[in-house]
Amino acid sequence: MQHKNKANKVLVELKNINKMFLTDEVETHALNGVNLTIDKGQYLSITGPSGCGKSTLLSLLGLLDTASNGEYKLAGHDVSHLNRDERAKIRNKEIGFIFQSFNLISDLTVAENVELPLTYRSDLTKQQRAKNVQEALDKVDMGHRAKHFPSQLSGGQQQRVAIARAIAGSPSVILADEPTGNLDSKNAQIVMSILDQLHAEGATICMVTHDPRSAARSQRIIEVFDGKIVSDQFNSEVSAIAV
């Protein structure tokens, strides 16, 4: 069942999305006829058992992969048939990623990691980039660690830096893949609070999670099973953000 908040403008629209993998001549259907819309400012959780296709769905949403067939519209634009560089540009401006294993680059400092997506833009000056970086780090309370290297930070701190990197470019949507999966409960709580805060400030968040407590903090929960959306529930306890 799919709930649509007509008051919000649609940001993401997937129509009949299929994704097949061919491994050793065996065809695996990772996603099978997925239809999904996400409105601006929505906080969505994707849950389901391992191997159900939720990470594949997140990859397609993030343009990290292409669907075998189906239609994908992002902010009203069809992005299903873009070439690699066009997809890269959209990822850079419109999408922020948070990974389970943080994926910070060990050779770069905290500030450089946060700045990294901004360096691929030509519309920002060095000063603007530095301002964005500082604001993003301050938002996750990591401004004091700007010159440290990832190896000098705890897991929780690394994930906060990863969140700062995701929001530094003010993307349209934040995609988080098990953001608390590698963290202890205390750090998980901090990270989830930051996401809550971002949502409260108007961010659109789409999070893959196994953790029912994390999912419960989102506005909408969809469940994927065998490559299909089998449940789509609106969490009335979490308020929608007007955008």
Binding site: D65, A88, S101, S106, Y120, R121, S151
Partner: protein, 831 residues
């Protein structure tokens, strides 16, 4: 039992990946094979002390090596005799001079043949620690006034020339037409001091001088067991100071090389070829060591890649409780297998290389018969020990580095994530160091190898200014018995005339024959001979003697130019006017005329020799001849300024002849023999060869070493290309997740490619910067003994770095492109 399992497991891994195993074994075999070969070569030729089976090292005691003339400076036996009493570091000393012996049996059944002769002090064989296998040793009595002249034969001369005649001892033979008694035969392969075939005694007055004299000899000392060459040189330094104070004024010239009159050198290092090309040998050692390092890095990197592939498996083993030492042991067994198989192949390769080099040495010394007896390479016990050491070194490098890498990871993260995880900062730094090391080492090896190769190639193809086609050359020697040399006596002019009469008579007879076009005599023919002396031009004298130009000087017969394809450009050739006493005529070559005289007009000017010892007589330039080049085109001691003096007024006991012939070479050689016999059967002709062979002679050692460098160069390119590619590919593969992250964050393909190519650029700048700096330092050392032309510089310092740049950029581009072409989601989860 557990070791058995580890061995079985390691063996199974090798069989499972045959291409990986073959590549690794090949690289190890190249590294170890070259090491074994280079050690055997350098140890036999230079570094292993010469002991002749005794427990004492032999050292050469002589004057300073003269690099400008490429010869060893001999010293006064008077001073050598004093050393035994005054120097503690040596146990005994003897000395010798080298020459030739024209040998013939008394009954003249065997004909006259030239052999290498060593003129030695009577204690020569006692100091050498060797006794004859037949007959007796020299005794002091053999040197007494009126004693019968005696000769010792080598085993080879006894076998080849005297057909192993069992009655040879006590028989009489003619040596330079003088009867001498054979007193013994030395053991097989004994040719001490270098390439002796016969041994004769020095004249008594040279052996027991009572005061300093002009006599010259080379000293050989047996070093005291408790001493060293350094200690001996300290004592010699003190001796030189004392000797300097007592040296009569007339012998001050002995000190022309400063106060280092007597010097001790490791015996093998004193050899002229080694001295002249020492820097090339050292370069070879450096290059081979660098190739061994390259091989180690390549193999280490291959095993590192393998560890990365097996990282998850290792993590599972650790999780199952495998002790660290078992993991290390497993990896070491793998390396032991690789190195053992590689070492076997290396042994076969090195043996093959040694066989080829021995064959090359045999060819190199075939004409002159002057191969030092220790220039026979073999893989001896020491070499096997070095091989063993190199194997252990390789096992440690190739086994422990991957073991360290395998054990230093976060296994928990690997097991949790199911991937190797993003590359750590430390691993990233290690990869940078590996890539830069590969670039640096390849640069040095390729630059040195190509510079040596191209230099010897161009020297081989050099234009020596002479026509060598249809020319044979030989050395003529007039026996003293029939051609007296009585310097500074009333007979001097008559002696000159007798020798010249023979030479010109032979020339005339030869040129009358239908198959002979022309005959030339020269003290050294163009392409050979070397060394220069200063001369000053009248009216253009420099204030300091050594700021004057210098030239090579040769003695030449009349009408010699056409026989070697040279011609008079200005003035005239030598004729009767120049043969009279005090004529003091000379001919200079075109380069001297053009470079040093106004309008290039040298005829009519006067020049004279000048040195620290004084000036010679003024000489009149009567002609200018076309340019030729004396010495090898790659030796710094060679010369393109040449002055020629007429043979008639300074005729020589031996001289080189060049013959321009028609028809076949063999027929020309036979014609020479027949005509000499018809003119004077006592005269010997030897070193008969084509002019091309003569010119190649001084180049042969360098050509041989260059072929080794060529092999090293090809191997270096292979190792460098494969190594740089493997290290770069491994480094980039390890960064697959990072690339995935960057692309997820919006990096385009071009952004990623630019990033990795610019990183490669930084590696290139560092690696090539250091590599070229080290190469220039080595080249600077090489330049002291060899001329490196501009093309060699270009190929070595421009083309080779360009090749490395291309290799590195390609090695970065291909694997990066491969990773970039993955979907970011795939790259992020790359295992």
């Amino acid at each position: 039992m557990s070791i058995g399992i580890d061995i079985k497991y390691a063996a199974r891994l090798l069989v499972k990946k045959p291409a990986f195993t073959a590549t690794t074994v090949f690289i190890i075999a190249i590294g170890l094979g070259l090491t074994l070969f280079a050690y055997s070569l350098l140890s036999s030729l230079i570094f292993k002390p010469l002991t002749l089976g005794t427990n004492q090292e032999f050292v050469a005691i002589e004057g300073q090596y003269d690099y400008s003339h490429a010869y060893r400076e001999s010293v006064d036996p008077f001073h050598l005799n004093q050393l035994v009493q005054e120097v503690d570091a040596i146990d005994d000393i003897t000395y010798y001079g080298s020459g030739t012996a024209l040998l013939s049996a008394i009954d003249a059944k065997t004909g006259t043949k030239k052999f290498n002769a060593t003129f030695a002090k009577w204690n020569f064989f006692d100091v050498a620690g060797k006794q004859p296998i037949m007959g007796r040793n020299f005794t002091e009595a053999d040197n007494f006034e009126g004693a019968e002249k005696v000769i010792m034969l080598s085993y080879e001369v006894w076998q080849s020339y005297f057909k192993g005649d069992n009655n040879i001892v006590d028989s009489m033979v003619n040596v330079d037409s003088e009867p001498m008694r054979v007193i013994g035969v030395m053991p097989e392969n004994f040719a001490f001091p270098s390439h002796a075939q016969t041994w004769l005694l020095m004249p008594a007055d040279q052996i027991n001088p009572t005061k300093p004299s002009r006599n010259s000899a080379f000293g050989i000392a047996r070093l005291n067991n408790s001493s060293s060459i350094e200690k001996l040189n300290q004592e010699l330094s003190h001796f030189n100071q004392r000797m300097k104070a007592d040296l009569p004024e007339e012998f001050i010239w002995r000190l022309r090389n400063g106060d280092n009159y007597l010097q001790a050198t490791a015996y093998k290092k004193a050899n002229s070829d080694v001295r002249e090309y020492y820097s090339i040998f050292i370069s070879l050692m450096v290059v081979v060591f660098l190739i061994l390092l390259l091989a180690c890095i390549n193999v280490g990197n291959l095993l590192l890649t393998r560890v990365n592939e097996r990282y998850k498996e290792i993590a599972i083993r650790v999780a199952l409780g495998v002790p660290r030492q078992r993991l290390i042991s497993q990896m070491l067994w793998e390396s032991i297998f690789f190195c053992a198989i590689g070492a076997f192949i290396a042994f076969v390769l090195a043996s093959w290389g040694i066989e080829l080099t021995n064959a090359a040495f045999t060819r190199m010394f075939a004409v002159q018969q002057d191969q030092p007896f220790w220039w026979k390479l073999a893989i001896d016990g020491d070499a096997l020990l070095v091989l063993f050491g190199a194997i252990v070194f390789m096992i440690l490098i190739t086994g422990l580095i991957p073991a360290w890498r395998a054990l230093s990871g976060d296994f928990n993260a690997v097991l949790r994530d199911g991937t190797r995880g993003a590359m750590g900062k430390k691993a990233s730094q290690t990869n940078k160091v590996l890539v830069i090391s590969e670039i640096l080492l390849s640069c040095i090896v390729l630059v040195i190898a190509t510079i040596l190769l191209t230099t010897s190639y161009f020297a081989d193809k050099a234009d020596y200014g002479v026509d060598t086609d249809k020319r044979i050359t030989a050395r003529l020697e007039l026996p003293l018995e029939y051609y007296d040399v009585r310097w500074d006596t009333d007979f001097e002019a008559a002696d000159h005339k007798k020798r010249n009469d023979f030479y010109y008579q032979l020339k005339s007879k030869l040129e009358d024959l239908p198959n002979i076009e022309a005959v030339a005599y020269m003290s050294q023919l163009p392409g050979t001979g070397e060394g220069t002396s200063h001369f000053e031009i009248e009216g253009m004298e420099a204030e300091v003697y050594n700021e004057n130009p210098s030239s090579n000087n040769e003695v030449i017969g009349r009408d010699s130019w056409r026989a070697v394809g040279m011609h008079i450009i200005q003035g005239r050739d030598f004729d009767d006017r120049d043969a009279v006493p005090d004529a003091n005529s000379m001919i200079v070559n075109e380069s001297i005329a053009l470079d040093l005289f106004p309008d290039g007009q040298a005829v009519g000017h006067r020049v004279r020799r000048i040195s620290s010892r004084g000036e010679g007589e003024w000489q009149n330039i009567v002609g200018v001849v076309s340019d030729s080049y004396h010495g090898s085109a790659m030796d710094t001691s060679s010369a393109q300024y040449n002055s020629y003096h007429l043979m008639d007024s300074r005729s020589r006991q031996s001289i080189n002849i060049a013959i321009h012939y028609k028809g076949g070479e063999l027929q020309a050689k036979q014609t020479l023999f027949d005509t000499i016999n018809a003119t004077d059967a006592n005269v010997a002709a030897y070193h008969i060869q084509s002019y091309q062979q003569l010119i190649q002679q001084p180049m042969m050692l360098v050509t041989t070493v260059s072929k080794i460098f060529l092999f090293c160069g090809v191997m270096a390119v292979l190792l460098a290309a494969s190594g740089i590619y493997a290290v770069s590919a491994n480094s980039i593969t390890q960064k697959t997740q990072e690339i995935g992250v960057r692309r997820a964050l919006g990096a385009t393909d071009a952004n990623i490619m630019k990033l990795f190519l610019s990183q490669a650029g930084i590696h290139l700048i560092i690696g090539l910067g250091i590599g070229i700096a080290i190469s220039l330092w080595v080249i600077n050392i090489l330049q002291t003994t060899m001329i490196i032309n501009s093309i060699s510089y270009f190929i070595g310092l421009i083309a080779m770095p360009m090749l490395i740049i291309a290799m590195v950029l390609l090695a970065t581009f291909i694997p990066t492109k491969k990773v970039v072409e993955m979907e970011p989601s795939e790259a992020l989860h790359h295992d």
